[in-house]
Assembly symmetry: C2
Homo-oligomer: 431 residues x 2
Amino acid sequence: MAGSTQHDPRKRVVIIGAGFAGIEVARGLGQSQADVTLIDRENYHLFQPLLYQVATAALSPADIAEPVRRMLRRYANITVVMGEVTKISGAENHITLADGTLVPYDILVIASGATHAYFGHDAWEKFAPGLKTIDDARDIRSRLLLSFERADRTSDPAKKKRLMTFVVVGGGPSGVELAGAIAELARHTLAKDFRHIDPTSATVVLLEAGPGLLSAFPKELARYTKRKLTQLGVTVRENCAVSNITEKFVEAGGEKIPTALAIWAAGVKASPLGKMLGAATDKSGRIEANRDLSVPGYENVYALGDIAQVKAQDGKPLPGLAQVAKQQGQYLGKALARRIATGTPSPVFKFHDRGNVAVIGRHAAVADFSWARLTGTPAWLLWALVHIYLLAGLQHRLLVSVQWLWRYITYDSGARLIVHPMDPGDGDERC
Amino acid sequence: MAGSTQHDPRKRVVIIGAGFAGIEVARGLGQSQADVTLIDRENYHLFQPLLYQVATAALSPADIAEPVRRMLRRYANITVVMGEVTKISGAENHITLADGTLVPYDILVIASGATHAYFGHDAWEKFAPGLKTIDDARDIRSRLLLSFERADRTSDPAKKKRLMTFVVVGGGPSGVELAGAIAELARHTLAKDFRHIDPTSATVVLLEAGPGLLSAFPKELARYTKRKLTQLGVTVRENCAVSNITEKFVEAGGEKIPTALAIWAAGVKASPLGKMLGAATDKSGRIEANRDLSVPGYENVYALGDIAQVKAQDGKPLPGLAQVAKQQGQYLGKALARRIATGTPSPVFKFHDRGNVAVIGRHAAVADFSWARLTGTPAWLLWALVHIYLLAGLQHRLLVSVQWLWRYITYDSGARLIVHPMDPGDGDERC
């Protein structure tokens, strides 16, 4: 205005990814002297811990997805951009979006998360989808419900059996939650809805390649989980690595399990942005970040959340958990705000373990804290309360509470929609 | 069991369509001596009157969709089949599904509804989608929200203007509701969410070819509707027929209106099943049914709801309304149950007009009853209560109430998801 030709002294911070990590970095910079641009492929922040409930027809997608713009609307210095990053030019300090737009930055924050990994068996993805996005969840929900429709239509007993067999690959928290939820869907919600099949006789198989379920939990909790899943009717197979997945079966432990739907919950790899930058990555594609989350070799690039491999105080890599991403985001937001305002360097990130919870089914969950280990109803209630509390926005908390309460009382699931339906036929084609 | 070779005396009733009409016929036969098969392409019954709220991000699809199986689970004599009817063989008394299955019937009930009609301009459909299904609503919601994203990205003022102009074609209740809801979305929900555009400056144009909005309502209510829409910022153009729709504009009344999203609410045609049967149909493809809903020339085929043209007591055709379909379904269910049990012929169907309601926006609606005409807050409250009451299932009532209450207090919409997102670019391509 005063004819100044000086460079604007406000720092431009670009954040890639609006997950737990990216959102927290943005919030931390919301009152700062920086001009912040937050870029995500979607227009919403997804509460991934409840995604399995969308896949099993208990919740609607919108219940766990909050518009990024709404979350950050109060911060006038933050611009939200819906777009896909296709190039990171670290030397030129800019990124490129799919439509060709160049976005320059002074500081770049990479928090683009992870996706499923099939460990070299990419052909399996078609038959055993993973669960990372709303689209994944809608797809799995439709396939799951359609399998019962098809089983009801066919008169071939072997086909009926195959259509009513569901295989979950991977015995971590996601696999346990999915297997439990599918078993409850079949045994309660759908129990009386068909005339030619008995949904309660559906088979749910949970395959774990390692020696036990929930390897991050204490052994007693893992044993409890196996017992509870078995009571729910889930067939748990440990030490059982998958050797093949086709349209008609999953092969594991030398045996072919005929199935119409397998779900992959066995592994993740980092988003490709680490490699795009050219930084050093581990074998899962995660950027090996310093303990202040900066990326070695780049003084103005940071990585955090599932895309980063960061060592804890004890030298071990931090696990790929929502709480790690969130804490890193809170740390980095504050650290960058301070660095921009005062030039003060940041102390390193310290992870505070808030404990681990995994839910199995009604009145059944495991919780592992430094101060206690819980199972059964107390763990289950705690899980529910913590997840309601962690949901972004009062509206989502209300809606999810109402639906959970309803489901608890009636055993009914609310969101049994088959989308983009095709004629279900009798199961000869996959959907 | 007793070595009987006699034909099973139970009548086989096949109902096509699980809309308001088909569901009621099934319920009416739920305690009868008939074996009933209800066939629908989807696995849910859709509450179409609130579909525009899904299209404008106020509700989730599952809030207005109830699984057909759950609705009818208590009736052991009803089988639900998810499938698409591809052939009706009236002479052989069977229908064919897309997968080749033959379904024989003793009595056939056709209630497969209506879809959009473009009056010979089928090319317009691509650029001006109609709103009849959940997929339509998801598609319109995504395009609507994506238009704002794109407008925020482009620096070209003309393109910005085009991306923020929405045209609704057709001034009946659907068009009025859509135009009002889009205006409220832009003026309230999205108002503060963007940095480079002002969503409150979005243009919503409502085009009506006839002399006035809401032609089925009294003139005073139509005038009130026009005034209220104008206050909401909607540009209402009457006597303004559309002559062309392309990717970039809608041409009406000799003028080109640049727009990125037009929505078609101007006309419907019957589902093709009437022609498939070979019955006499009117120019909209509706089966010209007798006043007892039987189809002339077929003693065991009935048609009702939007696929049927049925004359009222006064000789005028009944309108294509949910209440007509529902009352016809209730009538036919009872009539068929009686005919099957006792052979008694049915008296003709009599429509009882329950009145008409259309909503414009917050505190603004019109209601036309034989005993009163209401506008403003009373009509709006009545509209809300009636629609909550009419929703199938207590869970849906609860969820929709919670969301409406929330929206009323905060002006926030709950379901702002863009699905199958692509890079929004700057609006050069359509989504």
